[in-house]
Homo-oligomer: 412 residues x 2
């Protein structure tokens, strides 16, 4: 009998009517003869409400107690979901992270899953024909302290359960109906993909696709879990995130993305020394700052060098202080901060075996009158730093140039 | 080092300001050198909010899932209380019923405590100077299903912890400042008691004193836990519920109570038979109806008998149907229902060794022009059924007659 994990995010369980709708999906799958595990997030804005309660008490709540507090959000959802499934006429039992012994390390607020020790309990309930409802986002450490998994935590719970119980598919129900060749709000002709490879999805997540957090995609990749991203509000199939196939590799560019709200920090004209770049990025990493791209490292004739990198524009305050310290300590003559940059990228595993993608992209941008300021590449991504106000035009131009709106003959 | 358990009810943790006030009490006790355990209920109307959520999903939620849901209310409170105590500068750790392994049977919604298996964890935290905050009202069964203890559950948790860890005192913080000789809203001269015996408190609880549920008082009695009922909003000492002493017995009447909203059901003129009363009360018990008093069982010259009893007036609908069936099956000629009765009582362990209490009470009621319709007595209680609209006058008359407003020389 096939096993499916269905994950419903906060907006899919935001009120009684939506909980009933989600319960209807789970019950339908059960009636179709599947074994069904449901993973739910906290209702709508419940997590925000709880954080607000904590901040009414103290500006800096203890991480342990914040996790103790936040975990109640998902516990409320699982109980209500069980009631709704009962109401729909199926058997169901809700289980917290503690009740399935989803063990994590003790990193409160960003815990990592170690194991799911109570798999037998889930199996026993499934064997008895029950739908098993598990609280997303939460686990316990070795001492039964409640931990939470951080951003995208419920997706991670769903994928971990799918991996541990060898599910046939992990369905992620969300408010979009799949992964598109580009953001349809910018590119109206953008096409929904039937399938995408884990590596491509990871790159798109890093480029700002909000659909799934990269941790859960990595986990799915590691355990070969088929993830099906689909809409809570319709029955049309969404996009499957899968292991790459030969057919998939025939498509050179799978999608294009625009990352807005970047800032570029340029550290100018420091005397060249062996450990300079290492010293710079060690300090940045210690400060907990996430660098988007290291852009260039030009060496000048006078024996000095520039180092520049991009970060999220939200981190600019922190980065500014750090850059000033770096320039004092390491001898950069000036720090330039540009808050008006964006990055447009193309992603595709087919690029590994195809040439000419970069040239085609640069040509498209040039024809659209977009100036490329910097270029970053990886095995399956080419990204160009451009002016922010060129962003939407650039994305549209690239999407057109690669003909992404047309379904390729090979696959997708 | 002395150990105190402090229990704060829903109104004492209803908002951030009150949580800070409760945290201040716990911190003050800790700074005074005590070992401190705090037990908290759900915030204000949180339990009602959760029940309402459940009823938005289904009119008859499963008891297991309702307990899973309701237990989140106390989990929110313990986390916020821990944050507030941190804010006040003390160390604290919050623990759910599951985390202290407070084991119960599987009677969801009205579970009974079996043991607190993780006493060592609490001891270890106390040894480390921490204030330990425990979620009231909740436990887990042998399979880690969440259970709740029903009405007065948080008091029961507090008393059970005090018993298990041999606390010197269990402080119950509430919105009244202690136990009074009578309800001060009816008898303005009513006096707050310094101490009351467990048995007396049990009788007063049965007579409608809302301060503590009888289960927690019984538990305190069984384990000899000193319970101190006091106000969340002031520092004056409240009333200690203790084992009776010889000094206490010198006070004949400790207090008086009025139970309004009773109804009397009279089953009239059935043929006498050996098992008649047994048959009547077996049916009533099977129907889950709680009888307040069995009033009389008069045998008539014609070989018939009457049976009458009082119940809460809220149960009248159920009782009416049952009485009709009883009269058909057992041959009562008529059923009389009187919805306008009340009961006025005096309570005191000293009655055991004193005579004349009943006479004094009847005299006081007679002088006040109150007609006594029925009388019920136990070892330490005398109760009179009267017209409901005589209730307040009767309570005042009895309070005056026994001089309860004066502190006795002996004790209290």
């Amino acid at each position: 009998m096939s096993l499916v994990v269905q994950k419903f995010g906060g907006s899919s369980v935001a009120n009684a009517e939506r909980i009933h709708r989600a319960a209807g999906r789970a019950s339908a799958a059960r009636r179709a003869g599947k074994r069904v595990i449901v993973v739910v997030s906290a209702m709508g804005d419940e997590t925000d409400r709880l954080i607000d309660l904590a901040h009414q008490i103290t500006p800096s709540p203890s991480r342990r107690e914040l996790d103790q507090l936040l975990a109640t959000g998902e516990q409320v959802s699982i109980a209500l979901m069980a009631m709704a499934i009962h109401h729909a006429g199926c058997d169901a039992t809700s289980l917290t992270g503690g009740q399935i012994a989803l063990r994590t390390n003790r990193a409160f607020g960003r815990a990592r899953i170690r194991e799911i020790a109570q798999r037998e309990r889930i199996d026993r309930l499934l064997d008895a024909g029950q739908i098993v409802i598990v609280a997303g986002f939460q686990g316990i450490d070795e001492e039964s302290n409640v931990t939470t998994l951080g951003r995208g935590g419920s997706d991670t719970t769903a994928v971990a359960l799918a991996a541990a119980l060898a599910a046939d598919e992990c369905e992620i129900y969300t408010d979009v109906d799949g992964i598109y060749t580009a953001d349809p709000r910018i590119v109206p002709a953008a096409r929904k993909l039937d399938a995408i490879a884990y590596d491509e999805m990871l790159e798109l997540a890093a480029l700002g696709a909000q659909v799934m957090h990269s941790r859960s995609i990595e986990l799915a990749n590691n355990y070969n879990v088929v993830v099906h991203v689909r809409s809570s509000f319709s029955d049309v199939p969404g996009t499957r995130i899968v292991q790459e196939t030969q057919a998939m590799e025939k498509v050179v560019v799978r999608g294009a993305a625009l990352k807005r709200d970047l800032a570029r920090i340029s550290l100018l004209a420091a005397p060249v020394s062996a450990g300079l770049a290492a010293a710079v990025f060690a300090r940045i990493s210690e400060a907990g700052l996430v660098v988007d791209d290291i852009i260039q490292n030009v060496q000048h004739a006078d024996g000095t060098t520039n180092i520049s990198f991009t970060i999220a524009v939200d981190d600019i305050g922190e980065a500014r202080g750090l850059a000033a310290i770096l320039s004092l300590e390491l001898g950069f003559r000036a720090v330039e901060i540009d808050q008006e940059v964006a990055k447009v990228s193309v992603v595709g595993i087919g690029m590994r075996s195809h040439t000419g993608v970069a040239a085609m992209m640069f040509d498209a941008l040039s024809k659209a009158g977009v100036t490329i300021e910097n270029i970053s590449t990886s095995e399956i991504v080419i990204g160009c730093i451009i002016r922010r106000n060129d962003g939407e035009r650039a994305l549209q131009a690239i999407h057109d140039a690669f003909g992404l709106e047309r379904k390729p003959a090979a696959a997708n």
